[in-house]
Amino acid sequence: MENNNPTPKPKDASKAVEKFLVSSASQLAPYLEACIHCGQCAHACHFYEVTQDPKYTPAYKLFPMTKAYRRSKNPLNWLGMIPTLEEDEIAEWQDLVFNGCTMCGRCTNVCPMGIDVAQIVGATRQALTAAGYYPEDLMAAAENVVQHGSPLKVSTSVLEDRLEWIADESETDIPLDKKGAEVMFTISSIELMKYPDSVGAMAKMLNAAGVNWTISTKGYESTNFGYLAGRPDIAKLGTSRLVNAAEELGVKELIIPECGHAYSVLRWNGANIMGRPLGFKVYHITEYLAKLKREGKLKFKSIETAFTYHDPCQISRRGGAADDARYLLEGFAPNFVEMKVTGNQNWCCGGGGGVQAMNKYRDMRINVFKIKAKQVEETGTNTMISACANCRLTMDESIAELKWGGKLDSLVEILADNLIED
């Protein structure tokens, strides 16, 4: 289809080195020079916390790129000392940077040098993928974007069918390809297929606020598995579908639904990926609902249920939108309780960065959830809400497996259930 670059199949470690050198000849260079190997990042990482295995220390995940970078700067390079990495080294780090890191950025918060490990892991994923080292299941999801328009194979016809059904079930309108719309709403196929009530809830609130909105059949999938799989070509394909659809409709605003990395990719990297400014503003659904609430267009009944909030990493710690979720809860949830470790320091769900899509780490994700379960129990509530379908999918899997007594819900669904409609 639109993508011309086939997935690299043969394994070739030298290609990883080439990619490392391209990536490191950039603003990542200071980070690659600065690590003092103090190990303080270990305790910030959920994978280290649940295994106590030093290999999960975030600083260790920087090693292959740092090694290639340092060798490239070796003064004896002019004698032909080309930086190399061994095949087994690359294979070890494939596991660590794909399965063993959710790119949640918690380690960045604790690093005394301020090194942004998540950025380097993202670049390392690209290098390893270029060399043919990648998890098959994550790559399959990314390639579904090329072939079927979505990681979960939500084609245009599937989209239309699902939305029609959701509109009926939610008793609300979901406009498709509406000309003259001012706002384009995007969907995450995880929500569309697994949490359809969430899509209905968002539609209901946008309609109640009188927003002139639509969903485009030309660009609807907000998740970006190309980015997660280290495939910049597929990342650009996904981004350009959304951007082209929004610009063709002439909308002023684009809303990302409850999905963390989708927000992070389009809001903070979309224009960089496209190589030009975008012709519209990008909002996460919590930011947009907060905006509507500030403008007096949305009102909610107060609820008595006590609950806590799980901050999706890419929306709060990596996205800067932690306050908007709290603003939505103000006056609405008087019994809301923060976790002890919350906001930008919150623990990851364990399934971000595409880890949810990789079967190999299912048991690890379930163990990581025990941190979250303990956090929730400490609040004295038994309900947690969140604003990311991927967090929700990851934690629902663990809740079922562990038969945890608590409950997990969606912020937009709770808000929609308590919407005051004129």
Binding site: A29, E33, C38, Y48, V110, G114, G275, R318
Partner: protein, 220 residues
């Protein structure tokens, strides 16, 4: 023996200071010359400016968030003890100030020698403690490279020899001073090529992350 001291004070120190200065400048300039990332994504509205964000992050990271401090108390306290102790020792001793005055053309008030000696002892013990921690902690052992041990060892030497010279212990005073100066020379020569450079890089990386987070409106 005065030949050794003359050599240490003279050509050895001059050459090592030159290598230190040019090495540090080379590494910093080469970093500042790396191509800037293309950033077209707009910053969040009403966030603080880049300068304030960068400086703020340099200061903020001096004390970790309480969630992390609890787990890294040793690294935090030992790190502070070492860095403050080293600063007092290097910049507070009368003999060192005379050296700086010769190079810079100006000096400053010195601290009482007993106080500086106490700081030197604390520095030495905290350095030894950090090396012992590195050798015994599984995470640190996994991360450690030759550079880590070399940087630690090359920092121990000037501190230890300086203390011996001040206390007049072991060898003749002149010999101890010569060895002390030579150990400083080795330290200065190695400084730009290994992790000792973090003394300068810490400002670059903290500020960079501070600016990037502030663009997004992340309040750390």
């Amino acid at each position: 023996m005065s030949d050794l001291l003359d050599f240490a004070r003279g050509p050895a120190l001059q050459v090592s200071v030159m290598i230190f200065i040019f090495g540090v400048l080379y590494r910093l300039i080469s970093l500042f010359l790396t191509p800037k990332n293309f950033i077209a994504s707009p910053a969040r509205e009403n966030v603080k400016g880049a300068f304030g964000a960068g400086v703020g992050e340099i200061v903020r990271r001096m004390i970790p968030d309480k969630e992390y401090m609890r787990k890294e108390m040793f690294a935090f306290l030992n790190g502070w003890a070492f860095h403050i102790g080293l600063a007092i020792t290097v910049f507070g001793l009368a003999g060192h100030i005379m050296f700086f005055k010769k190079i810079l053309g100006f000096g400053w008030w010195n601290l009482p020698s007993n106080f500086v000696m106490l700081a030197g002892v604390i520095t030495l013990f905290s350095l030894i403690a950090s090396l012992a921690h590195r050798l015994t902690d599984p995470v640190l052992r996994k991360l450690s490279t030759l550079d880590d041990y070399l940087s630690g060892g090359l920092t121990v030497l000037p501190v230890a020899t300086g203390l011996l010279a001040t206390m007049h212990l072991g060898l003749r005073y002149e010999t101890l001073i010569a060895i002390h100066i030579l150990s400083v020379c080795i330290f200065l020569i190695y400084f730009p090529f290994g992790k000792l450079m973090h003394a300068f890089l810490v400002f670059v990386t903290r500020a960079k992350t501070g600016v990037e987070m502030a663009r997004k409106g992340v309040k750390l």
